[in-house]
């Protein structure tokens, strides 16, 4: 069957179905000879076969159906009326068609089937001559009379819908496996999707029950039970695989629509595009296939619209005028990978970075610490669009962020790779199926939760001693230094508002990835990995947003599945947003440009880093030099009056410093200055500023590593504003107020 073209195969399946219908119609027609409906139906069927066979260059088939169609057209239009003879020749025609189809199926060609006899009979009737009587009157369209009619046919024709026997008996046609061959029509059936879904659900139940039995059998010493449970285990796995396969469809079902999209789009944009597809046969669960349809189409549109250059630009760049868009699909590690690549201009990560800063999505400081690959992923951030102008092709409100949301919604991931001048590749990783996913089960506060493996990067377990050192605290936000990079930690118990029952100081961290960020989820215990069947949650629970579903564990208890994406959004982005609200890009730009930091000590051993570029001087004042204006503290300095910001007060720390001396950092922006009071000046460093984590808190811009200790980077602007809300607006109010007081 491999040698038969797919299109031919489809034609065969369709035609077999049509012929069965035709048989019924013809029989019915004999009972009510004048029925226009029936004639019309028969005519259409034959017409379809004729059209397709002409297209596929099956000349014999075409000639038979052609004369048949003529006869039927006359009957339909009332120019001729039905007689037993016409019924006979029509049935004979149907049989001939069936034979031809069988031959095509076996050999891929029409063989030497002679159709001239049937054609002759039909032509005779068309010409108004009575043909020689055909066998005995045939009240029912059974095989015998027809056999007489077409004795040349190499295959014994059968009118019964199942054509297995005659084909199996076929002695002439050679084939590797002639005995057990099934016809195309018999080897595939149409099944209701609901039925498949029910089957899938049942298999899900079976998998759960299997898990329970295997677990219970493991606890007992019964060898026979063990053996049976192992067999059950195997069978259930195979069954699960088999049922999953029934829901699988080749990705080509989706891709087949894309050449047209690309062609039209290319014509619209004035670009020459050739589309190549690799791995058409890669299969995906049908629900997933449906879910990736829009994102994939969008990526393809994007590739043509933004990715590929115009033919002139391409030629100028020394590339062929015709751009190549490549779709590639393959299986990798239990996932399906779908790539959309173009050989266009590529994405310039610097432009992406500039855009992100311009849009206020990231700060200069944050960008400076990102690798070019990470910068590229910013195109998926909501509010980002690389197209300079909104074209009517892309920019229809479905941005890359929606693509990403859709893909993540089905448990997949998306990443983009690009080499400037060489092209761009978007890579989707999609789970094979949604219904059954591998997951890690963990415990928190005595409850069990499941974390889908797709989000899990690694597990870290720290004993009490190591945890005390390795988990550091920045203003209440914990971080763990994972191979030199700061990993923000999220305590599951805190997120869920439950009481952790881990009191021995051990810290178990599940390192998760979501929304392009890594974070560590602190849990009480890791239990095991198992395949879980995802069950939907009731409507009351949808609003919580922390759970993506529930599952039934091996012991029959229900466990909630954590929605890692939602957790990440909830915990990480909230902080980032807070940061955006309180900060100004200028201040952050300073942080990035000046790699030198002034490290100052505060009460309680806390250390903060202040960007050095705006620090003008370090001074010591006597406490008595501090005067009060209203509720503000000021000092006189070089003929001016400086507001004093006591960082200890700002952070709610209590100064450890004794004595009358006040250590201040004079910080200047434009023509205004402020005195920032600290406990002590520790150091000035210009190293390691690339370690910048997303752990943030009130008044903290981020954190950095200084001599292997985590130091918070002071959000200078926010600190100054807390002491002097008018500092940056340069209003004269403050001065006026000063003058009044003096």
């Amino acid at each position: 069957m491999d040698e038969i073209d797919e299109i031919v195969q489809e034609f065969l399946v369709e035609s077999h179905e049509n012929l069965d219908q035709l048989d019924r119609d013809l029989v019915a027609l004999e009972r009510e000879p004048g029925s226009r409906d029936l004639l019309g139906s028969i005519f259409r069927t034959i017409h379809t076969i004729k059209g397709t066979s002409g297209f596929l260059a099956f000349g014999q088939l075409e000639s038979v159906t052609h004369v048949g169609e003529n006869l039927l057209a006359r009957l339909r239009d009332g120019k001729m009326s039905m007689s037993p003879q016409t019924t006979d020749v029509l049935l004979a025609m149907v049989d001939t068609v069936r034979d031809l189809l069988a031959t095509i199926e076996q050999t891929g060609g029409e063989g030497d089937t002679d159709v001239s006899v049937v054609v002759g009979h039909i032509t005779a009737i068309l010409d108004g001559k009575a043909p020689e009587p055909v066998a005995a009157p045939a009240p029912e369209p059974v095989a015998e009379p027809v056999v007489d009619l077409v004795p040349e046919a190499p295959v014994v024709p059968a009118l019964v819908p199942v054509a297995q026997a005659p084909v199996a008996a076929e002695p002439v046609v050679e084939h590797e496996d002639p005995v057990h061959r099934r016809t195309v029509a018999d080897s595939s059936i149409r099944v209701d999707v609901d039925l498949l879904d029910t089957l899938m659900r049942l298999v899900g139940e079976l998998v759960l029950t299997r898990n329970q039995i295997v677990r219970q059998a493991g606890d007992q010493q019964d060898v026979d039970l063990m053996r049976s449970s192992q067999r059950l285990n195997l069978i259930a796995s195979e069954l699960q695989e088999g049922v999953m396969k029934t829901r699988m469809q080749p990705i080509d079902n989706l891709w087949s629509k894309l050449p047209r999209v690309v062609r039209d789009l290319g014509a619209n944009c004035g670009k020459q595009v050739s589309l190549t597809m690799v791995g058409k046969e890669t299969e995906l669960d049908r629900t997933l296939l449906e879910a990736v349809k829009d994102p994939l189409t969008h990526l393809v549109r994007n590739g043509v619209d933004h990715g590929l250059e115009s033919p002139e630009d391409r030629v100028a760049a020394g590339k062929p005028a015709e751009g190549v868009l490549t779709l590639r699909a393959y299986h990798q590690g239990g996932q399906v990978v779908v790539e959309v690549s173009d050989d266009g201009a590529g994405i310039d990560s610097e432009k992406v970075a500039a855009k992100a800063v311009e849009r206020g999505l990231r700060t200069q400081a944050q960008i400076a610490q990102m690798s070019p690959t990470d910068v590229l992923q910013l195109i998926f951030v909501p509010g980002f669009s690389t197209a300079a102008a909104v074209t009517n092709v892309s920019g229809r409100g479905v941005g890359m962020d929606v693509v990403k949301t859709n893909i993540e919604g089905i448990g997949g991931t998306i990443e983009v790779e690009s080499v400037v001048g060489r092209g761009t590749t978007c890579r989707l990783r999609i789970p094979l199926t949604l219904a059954i996913v591998p997951a890690l089960t963990v415990e928190c506060a005595g409850d069990r939760y499941a974390i889908p493996q797709v989000s899990l990067l690694e597990l870290v377990s720290l004993d009490a001693d190591r945890a005390a050192n390795a988990v550091e605290d920045i203003n209440g936000a914990s971080v763990y230094r994972l191979r030199g990079t700061l990993l923000p930690l999220v305590r599951l118990a805190e997120v869920l508002g439950v009481e952790s029952d881990r009191s021995d100081g051990h810290v178990v961290i599940a390192v998760l990835q979501a929304e392009g960020k890594r974070f560590g989820l602190v849990i009480d215990r890791v239990l095991s990995t198992e395949e879980i069947v995802v069950k939907p949650l009731g409507s009351q629970m949808k609003a919580i947003g922390t759970y993506s579903g529930a599952t039934i564990l091996g012991d029959g208890r229900v466990a909630l599945i954590l929605d890692v994406q939602a957790l990440a959004r909830r915990v990480l982005n909230a902080d980032a947003l807070e940061l955006d609200d309180t900060d100004d890009h200028d201040t952050r730009a300073v942080t990035a440009e000046s790699l030198r930091l002034l490290v100052a000590g505060l009460g309680g051993g806390r250390k903060v880093a202040i960007p050095l570029s705006s620090v003008t001087r370090l001074e010591n004042f006597d406490q008595s030099a501090v005067e009060r204006i209203g509720n503000r503290e000021v000092v006189q300095y070089r003929g001016g009056i400086l507001p004093v910001v006591r960082l200890n007060n700002y952070y709610g720390a209590i100064s450890d410093r004794e004595g009358d001396e006040l250590v201040v950092v004079i910080y200047t922006v434009g023509d205004r200055s402020v005195a920032i009071a600290v406990d002590e000046i520790v150091d000035i460093v210009d190293e390691n500023t690339e370690f910048h984590a997303e752990v943030t808190d009130h008044g903290v811009l981020g954190s950095t590593l200084v001599r292997d200790r985590i130091v918070e980077v002071l959000d200078v602007r926010a600190a100054i504003l807390s002491a002097d809300p008018t500092f940056y607006t340069a209003s004269d109010e403050f001065d006026a107020e000063l003058q009044e007081t003096m």
């Binding site: 069990r448 439950v498 009351q540």
Partner: protein, 139 residues
């Protein structure tokens, strides 16, 4: 005209839901608690492989909590295509009530108990409160 109701008790009061909405009645099942869920959703239960939310009707109707040692019964209902388990104190019987015994909730009744009731059937011995299941389990 008469209506067939499945009756159950909550804090000494007799309630009823339409028999057609009830899938089955069963004894308490182990529940998995759901952190962050609304108070009235007391947990998830495994009903032969199906995960159901268990709605604590006492909380929903603003009644005091059940004694800790009193095991609740479950009335499994189908509402708007979803299957939900209602936690109740005890199960009564299947009862036919006449429509002319029915009366809308008195105007003086307010709060959740009015919102979630169709009305009351005046039985000889006591009132049978007809629960509006759709509203009682709505999120």
């Amino acid at each position: 005209m008469s209506t067939r109701l499945v009756t159950f008790t909550l804090d000494g009061r007799l309630f009823g839901v339409e028999v057609n909405a009830v899938q089955e009645v069963l004894r308490g099942q182990p529940q998995t608690r759901i952190p962050l869920a609304p108070d009235s959703v007391s947990g998830l239960i495994n009903l032969r492989g199906q995960v159901l939310s268990a709605v604590e009707l006492r909380a929903r109707l603003g009644l005091p909590d059940r004694d800790a040692d009193h095991e609740p019964m479950l009335v499994v209902v189908r509402v708007a295509g979803e299957t939900i388990a209602l936690l109740v104190d005890s199960i009564g019987a299947v009862m036919d009530v006449d429509d002319d015994q029915f009366e809308l909730p008195p105007d003086t009744l307010s709060g959740p108990s009015r919102e979630f009731l169709h009305g009351a059937y005046k039985l000889d011995s006591q009132l049978l409160l007809a629960l509006d299941v759709d509203r009682a389990v709505a999120a």
